[in-house]
Amino acid sequence: MAALLLSPTAVVLALVIAYPLISAIHQSLYADQTGIDADGFVTEGETFVGLGNYLNLLTGDAGDRFLNAFANTTFFTLTTVSLETILGLILALAMNRAFRGRSFLRASILIPWAVPTAVSGLLWRWIFQSDGIANNLLGSEILWTAEGAASKIAVIVAEVWKTAPFIGLLVLAGMQVIPEEVYEAAKIDGAGWWRQLGSITLPLVKPTLLVAVLFRLLDALRMFDLPFVLIGPGKDSVETLSMLAWDESNQLRYGSASAFAVILFLYVAVVAVVFVKVLGADVTGTKELRLARKKTRSQKAGPAS
């Protein structure tokens, strides 16, 4: 039964991912010949270099670039995902409150996520250009799109804007299934808003929140379009691992491009495993909710069952 329900998923995923992944691993063990023969043509064929591509990444000039991209990727992931989580939670709490114009708020929160990434990259590039609206409103003359710390901030602001709604919407869905009775019981016990937030809302949305954050982590680690469009390719301050892999394959060095992709894949996998192990032991079970429900039901509906 389980196998029957799971097999379609397995087939589709194998089709889309298995081939590219195996192809990338295979490719990463070969180096393209880059020599030019006497007639001026690129010599063809590839040589097996084993782990050579991987070793090349870690040494010399390429090594510096790799470390820089690695540091940028990690930095962007940490900053954007934590800001998004906080903002997403606030968004969800706000959307979950009763007030006039709640559906308007919901719609507006959805907008940033609905704007296509490429278009939002252009939009922010426009906002952040040297005489754009950002400098105009701030009364500053910051060169956001030049190399430097300002470009990092620009990327973070735009990325958080775009993706906080993702977390907000998922968490909101988690909040919507928390039974009102739980809050009522807490109110009877005299728990204030913060108490309820800390001891009911947060613990009960934790599984959903963790899944939302996990998916954001995976996406943020592979960040590509936004820095590419907003700041531009080849700018060291914002170059991520995905951009590096793109640049390598753009220069027809498929071997090392694949090596980057495989390393990035492993990095993402490690982060995901650590994340799930450290924070998400609960991904497979939600005792709190079950207990809470049991309690309220035994108070309210006990006789019926």
Partner: protein, 438 residues
């Protein structure tokens, strides 16, 4: 439980066989010795419909030429496969399809700087010697379509640098002729910026953001000082005094406040606006800005107040680089005879002249620049022809992508003050040498 494990087995077998199939596919894709069709003797055979692969021509001029062709060649219709506006994305699509040898791409529209790379990888076919009227084309454009003495593409349109200056302000400061050298430009700036009506203006700007525009401006600065980036064999020559003089001119421009402080983020459009809004006195840019600058609908504050000349050099007129596009034929298309005929038709002088009615793109035929009817509509054409006649291409190297990236990296480090000029050039020389030795 037993049943469960059996279904499990079936899943495992399915996914295993999928994986094996994948390995097999990969192995085939990657390690088969690649035999490519194109060789200098390749025949142009096969007639029938083809695809023309290009980004959209907003003016509609290209479409008109294609419609004319289609009307007279009903069995060899040309359809347009549109590529994205971004040059990076265009190149990515072209390379991807060459990689998998897709026959969908017939005639491809290439940036002039991609010629060497595409030719050396046999992604485009060498053209027959007498296929095109190269004699009546501007030499630099033919040179840019040539790889190792073989013509690989048909020049479609071209682009060269123009030096825009505020004729009204020069006149007000009593300067009779526009500057021909950097030093003259600095002197002129000093005089003009002292005028009350020039308060708050900067002297000059080009394109200095870390992208292709910087490669162009750096190449021009070095060439204008009498240097080159690479010699005729592709070996780098940026450790010379000329290269240093060229780069120093740009570095000092930022240091001495000659350029606006945000010019380091300028691409072509930002430079145009700075000039159009009266923020700079001199501007290096392509011909496309001429139309916007001379607009009299109130959007330009410099209409009728500017003029163009050749870019300044160190000790005389400067040297422009060459922009523009070429058409080439993919060796993977079925109908190569049609492709060749279409290229001849499309890039003919007749069609180029017809396109001038709609398009502002600069033709590759020298005679059109002196045609009075054309010049009446485009007064800058004679100046542009001078610029194109002296133009030098950007480095003609196979690994152009890596080369331009190394140039931008080091030139940007120098103009942003991160590295001193000598270090930046030494590092650039080393990077380019490593690339050319491969």
């Amino acid at each position: 439980m037993i049943q469960r494990s059996r279904t499990w087995q079936s899943i495992l077998t399915t996914s295993a066989s999928l994986a094996i199939a994948a390995v097999a596919l990969t192995a085939c894709g990657a390690s088969t010795p690649q035999t490519k069709a194109a060789s200098p003797a390749a025949a142009f055979e096969g007639k029938g419909p083809i695809n023309y692969v290009s980004s959209r021509d907003a003016s509609g001029a290209a479409q008109k030429s294609i419609d004319e062709w289609n009307a007279s060649h009903p069995d060899e219709k040309v359809s347009v496969v549109e590529l994205p506006d971004s040059a990076d994305q265009q190149r990515q699509q072209l390379v991807q399809n060459a990689q998998i040898k897709a026959d969908t791409f017939g005639v491809v529209n290439l940036d002039v700087v991609w010629t060497s790379e595409f030719a050396a990888n046999k992604w485009i076919m060498p053209l027959p010697k007498d296929a095109l009227p190269v004699g009546s084309m501007i030499d630099a454009t033919v040179n840019a379509a040539t790889y190792r003495d073989t013509l690989y593409a048909a020049p479609y349109y071209t682009d060269g640098a123009l030096f825009y200056y505020r004729s009204d302000l020069l006149e007000a400061a009593g300067i009779a002729a526009p500057p021909k050298t950097w030093d003259e430009m600095k002197t002129a700036c000093k005089a003009v910026l002292a005028l009350p009506q020039a308060a708050g203006m900067s002297c000059y700007t080009g394109q200095f953001d870390k992208n292709e525009g910087l490669t162009v401006n750096f190449t021009e600065a070095v060439a204008s000082a009498g240097g080159t980036l690479v010699d005729s064999e592709g070996k780098p020559t940026v450790d010379t005094a000329a290269a240093k003089q060229g780069l120093s001119a740009l570095v000092d421009g930022f240091k001495d406040g000659l350029f606006p402080s945000d010019a380091i983020t300028y691409q072509e459009e930002q430079g145009r606006r700075a000039f159009q809004e009266g923020k700079v006195l001199f501007l290096r840019n392509w011909p496309f800005v001429y139309a916007s600058l001379s607009a009299t609908d109130g959007s330009s504050s410099v209409a009728n107040k500017f003029n163009v000349t050749s870019i300044p050099g160190i000790s005389g007129p400067g040297v422009s680089t060459l922009g523009g596009r070429n058409l080439a034929i993919s060796p993977f298309t079925q109908n190569k005879a049609t492709a060749l005929e279409f290229i001849k038709f499309f890039t003919s002088e007749d069609q180029a002249e017809k396109r001038l009615a709609l398009s502002s793109r600069a033709p590759v035929y020298a005679s059109l620049y002196t045609n009075p009817a054309v010049v009446a509509k485009r007064p800058f054409f004679p100046t542009l022809l001078v610029s194109l006649d002296n133009a030098q291409p950007r480095p003609k190297v196979v690994q152009y992508g890596a080369t331009t990236k190394a140039i931008q990296e080091e030139a940007y480090a120098a103009i942003s003050g991160k590295k001193d000029t000598n270090t930046a050039l030494a590092d650039m020389q080393a990077k380019l040498a490593a690339l050319s030795s491969k």
